[in-house]
Symmetry: C3
Subunit: 217 residues, 3 copies
């Protein structure tokens, strides 16, 4: 598991940037930094970005560009890397991630990466949404119909977590059940498979490997 984590981590973090430029695979996206800025400090970094990151990693067949955008956004939010966020929010929208999915990713990570990281993402995303005229009509409701719960699997999870942590921090166990697994994970605008992708990416990005086991993709 540790091996898996460490290595996927490398991949996830290698994937954590792209000075978005016009390429066939990735339409124009706005960034605070231009390629010229990068070349004024590190011409080699610009070359690695173009050749290896955008030219190779992003084009590997194992993960779609939409999913790579989700993984990258999760890593950026998990590590509070705000400078690169505008480019990647735009790139995610260009790559087919829907505004309501971005909204849910930010909300989801408030619980897994810390509330303040989600708020930093809000501070960036609101400008991206405004520039692209994405209004609240394209966002998920604060509360809405939830996906059906797998009661048996949830009972097993709750028992396992209760046994591990219940004696020490019953409050956390209760919130994990009530807010996370009977509410957040069932919100309809981001499918469970994508919530797993987001969660695993965020945990790996911060090296939180101990929490990875219950979150297989």
């Amino acid at each position: 598991m540790k091996v898996l984590a460490a290595t996927i981590a490398s991949l996830a973090l290698i994937a954590s940037s792209a000075q978005a430029e016009e390429t066939k695979a990735m339409p124009t996206s706005k960034s605070m930094l231009t390629r010229e800025d990068v070349r004024m400090v590190a011409p080699a970094l610009d070359k690695y970005t173009q050749d290896r990151l955008l030219g190779e990693v992003w084009k590997r067949p194992g993960l779609s560009v939409r999913d790579r955008s989700i993984v990258t956004l999760a890593a950026l939010i998990a590590r509070n890397q705000t400078i690169e966020m505008p480019a990647y929010f735009n790139l995610a929208l260009d790559n087919g991630v829907k505004p309501q999915e971005i909204s849910e990713i930010v909300t989801h990570l408030a619980f897994y990466s810390g509330w303040a990281n989600a708020m930093s993402a809000v501070a960036v995303a609101k400008d991206v949404f405004a520039e692209r005229k994405i209004g609240t009509d394209q966002l998920p409701p604060a509360s809405g119909a939830l996906l059906p719960l797998d009661e048996a699997a949830e009972a097993q999870r709750a028992e396992r977590v209760g046994q591990q942590f219940g004696a020490v921090v019953p409050g956390v166990v209760q919130y994990t059940t009530d807010v996370l697994f009977r509410d957040l994970w069932l919100r309809a605008d981001l499918v469970p498979r994508d919530r797993s992708l987001v969660t695993v990416s965020a945990l790996i990005a911060n090296g939180q490997v101990a929490q990875l086991t219950p979150h297989p993709q």
Copy 2:
């Protein structure tokens, strides 16, 4: 210990934000982000913030709002989450944390979370202090009378740390004794119990569980 750490961590991080709004429990505080900003990106996040975080977690009886403010500030500084800091510095002052205590928290965390994180906190706090007309007369002196040292406990700690680390990094051991335990921890304007709260919160916020054992609350 790992269980304790992981779960307290969840709690600490869940507690790491509050779009400060007028509620009876928490007076007005300034924030760079408004509730409207949050709703323009993630209406659900705003609802969780209001209902679960401000409406429930912050009102749990196990920890006072003053102490929750200290824990939250420590987590924000430890993770360099500057965007949320203005709101939480103000909230801490509203909740009864004194300017000299905030000053000591920032100084304390220079040693535990890295000097640069403390400097980021300074960059935010100086504006909060200026707006609230908190002058240097309300701050602790650079050097002042220290609290009495428990020589026996300190001798034990120094011996334990010396045995563990002395052969590899004697310089760190010496600084740990001279600067941390015979100076910083004895500064009078933040009581030892609160220094423990700050230290444990910062270590948990960064997942530094290996250092938690010697810092029981």
Copy 3:
């Protein structure tokens, strides 16, 4: 190893700031924060910075001020501590770190600390370089002649990494060989010893102790 890591970590992080002021050891450097700013929030922090950090740690004989600048830059970039970066980029240049070495440090850490952290460093360094009129003629080429490879040592490394990770993430293993050890580490404008210093400092700054073993200084 854990002991070594933890303690060096303390040292590295203690070293992670200096409100650069005129002293004989360290010429003037620009900083967003002034000493006066620090004193308006935490007079004790200013005193510790002057007496202990600049007055003692930076003057310890075990590591030159040039190397301390490299270690500190690596820690700042690894932890995305942008607020202190302008002062430390300037200080590094004042302490004899060459522009092409800074360029290589930023590029190197894209792979070890995440691409987005390198891009944050670019955003700061480009202004520092512009102010000091450091042009692209002083930067390393995007591609150039590489240092000779120790084929035997590299074969051992590749075999060890292949055995550990090859079955799980062959893509990462291939990139580790092709991009890191047969390219990045051989770039001529930062000597291998300094790349080790940068890598170890960055890993320690983020508590990534599992990766330290193969990177002895």
